[in-house]
């Protein structure tokens, strides 16, 4: 499937060809990241920039690890803007983009 929003190459490299490891990591990602996404959305809507930045910081290495390239910069921007106390139209736009990409990634990874 060429329309995948994720890329497991880095994870597979880290796993050294261990399919079980990759599968375990996918399960872990699907178990934890949706909840983090919800927390991030809630922090954004309630204007809690510090929590927004902190959760973006936590999601960031997972976005990198799963090769969700379309939002690697957006998640970093959200982390930085959150730390700087900024919540505005731009963060709203980035949040929506991150949510959309991650939601697709969750669905696609469930089929993995």
């Amino acid at each position: 499937m060429s329309d995948k929003v994720y890329n497991l190459a880095q994870l597979e490299e880290q796993g050294g060809g261990d399919a079980e490891f990759v599968s375990m990591m996918v399960d872990t990602f699907l178990e934890h990241t949706p909840g983090q996404l919800e927390e991030m959305k809630s922090a954004h809507s309630s204007g809690d920039s510090a929590t927004l930045g902190a959760i973006a910081h936590k999601i960031k290495p997972n976005v990198d690890m799963f090769g969700i390239d379309a939002i690697t910069q957006d998640i970093r921007d959200l982390e930085q803007m959150g730390k700087n106390g900024i919540i505005n139209a731009e963060t709203q736009e980035k949040m929506q983009k991150v949510e959309a990409e991650l939601t697709i990634a969750f669905e696609q990874l469930k089929q993995h």
């Binding site: 880095q10 880290q14 796993g15 050294g16 261990d18 490891f21 375990m24 990591m25 872990t28 990602f29 178990e31 934890h32 990241t33 902190a54 910081h57 936590k58 960031k60 290495p61 997972n62 990198d64 690890m65 982390e79």
Partner: protein
């Protein structure tokens, strides 16, 4: 280190799983995971071998966790693993004692792996040093100084006193009586035992080089000073400095030594900067320093400064039964080292040994016993196996070889150097030649100080 216990403190479960997966690839790693600082700090008393600490934990900042680790386990290596590359934070953490700062990027795995290998290697080396240090301590336990004569019992008593304080100790004794062994016994049984013992034989170093050897020099301080060099005083910082053959020191240098000992600070040659020194001083000599003071060869003020606790090592000829105790000890050591069958010393050989004056003292006894063990044919050392006349024999050999006068002189000087423990000053006096002649011959490789 065989097993390495690693604590991973990481609240991102996916990232923690990646770390745990990698770390457990090495079966020698015993890995435990904590997802917050509090649960980790509750278990810190287990003292792992290393901690991988996420900088952004939900309950405490990385720097705070690091400080708490340092309070409980100051030497525990902590690798900070952070989601962001922030040089300022990294510098602060390293200043607080973090072992390394690793960013969660594609290179993290390799950097963590390398850091753990380094930690493992350092731990192995530390353990090896501890074992060696313990071995050295045992080797120089002063109960290993053999003998039961009154003279040596007094030496034991004084060594014990010397180990309890930092008093300067002056060790007197003829050549071969074991002055260096006593210095080692004092150091390795004193509170300085885990710091260096630095020895320097004053007689073996040309006067013009001695000052730099003792006090060090800066680059360019004199011709040939191509780089900065730390002197023996600084090398011995916090430990013991053993100045052997102190009686051979030049009067000018004696004044400089006195100043350093009095003021507890020195200037490297070519530098105006004062450096504090705090080594414990032990000195040894085969001369009567008091007599040297009277003759004007040794400064009186330095003599009193160095006198401290004087320990007089009796010559072997005055140690009676110790001769046979030592002979049997050296024989057993030699047999063990060379895999020889058990050997005995015949009553006649023992009688001969007891009546011999032993001018070379314990060193000579050891050499003669070892040679006798080699020469013996039947596992019993007989009188004929004791080769006391090494001096005469060697001289006879020299004469019979029909050497040139120059070669004869060279061999003669080499012989006396060996016999006098490379004491250039002593040999120069004994053979009535200039020290500079000897130094020149050493420099030209005509003779050597092996």
């Amino acid at each position: 280190m065989s097993l390495m216990k690693i604590f991973v403190v990481e609240d991102s479960i996916p990232y923690a799983k990646v770390l745990l997966h990698h770390l457990r690839l090495n079966p020698d790693n015993e890995v435990e995971h904590f997802s917050d600082a509090k649960s980790f700090l509750n278990q810190i008393h287990q003292i792992p071998d290393c901690v991988l600490l996420d900088y952004s934990l939900p309950d405490l900042s990385g720097i705070e966790v690091l400080k708490r680790i340092r309070a409980q386990a100051p030497d525990l290596p902590v690798l900070i693993v952070s989601g962001q590359e922030d040089v300022g934070t990294a510098v602060n953490l390293l200043k607080e004692g973090a072992y390394d700062y690793i960013v969660k990027d594609v290179n993290a795995k390799e950097r963590i792996w390398n850091a753990l290998n380094n930690i493992r290697e350092n731990a192995r080396l530390r353990k090896e040093i501890d074992v060696l240090r313990e071995e050295v301590n045992q080797k120089y336990d002063f109960s290993n100084i053999i003998g039961s004569s009154e003279g040596i019992k007094k030496v034991y008593k004084y060594i014990e006193k010397a180990t309890r304080t930092n008093i300067t100790v002056s060790i007197y004794g003829e050549t071969g009586t074991g002055k260096e062994l006593v210095a080692k016994a004092i150091h390795y049984n004193s509170k300085y035992r885990n710091k260096p013992l630095v020895s320097i034989n004053i007689a073996a170093i040309p006067t013009e080089l001695l000052e730099s050897e003792l006090f060090g020099h800066e680059k360019g301080a004199f011709t040939g000073a191509v780089s900065r060099r730390v002197g023996k005083f600084e090398e011995a910082q916090g430990g013991t400095l053993f100045l052997d053959e102190i009686g051979e020191m030049d009067l000018n240098l004696q004044a400089k030594l006195l100043r350093v000992i009095q003021e507890k600070e020195l200037n490297r040659l070519g530098s105006n900067k004062s450096i504090k020194v705090n080594a414990r001083i032990l000195v040894a000599t085969n001369r009567d320093l008091k007599e040297e003071v009277r003759l004007g060869n040794f400064r009186e003020d330095l003599y009193y400064r160095l006198l401290g606790l004087p320990i007089h090592l009796p010559p072997l000829r005055e140690r009676g039964g110790d001769i046979m105790l030592l002979a049997k000890h050296f024989l057993q050591d030699f047999i063990k080292e060379n895999g020889f069958p058990d050997m005995k010393i015949s009553p006649e050989a023992q009688q001969r040994m007891l009546s011999y004056p032993w001018p070379g003292n314990v060193r000579e006894l050891k050499a003669i016993v070892e040679l006798a063990a080699v020469l013996s044919d039947d596992g019993i050392i007989e009188e004929k196996d004791l080769n006391f006349n090494t001096v005469t024999d060697e001289m006879d050999t020299l004469v019979s070889e029909g050497l040139s006068l120059k070669e004869y002189n060279r061999r003669l000087i080499q012989y006396y150097l060996r016999r006098n423990n490379n004491n250039v000053v002593e040999v120069a006096k004994r053979l009535d030649i200039g020290k500079s002649t000897l130094y020149r011959m050493i420099k030209n490789d005509e003779i050597n100080l092996n």
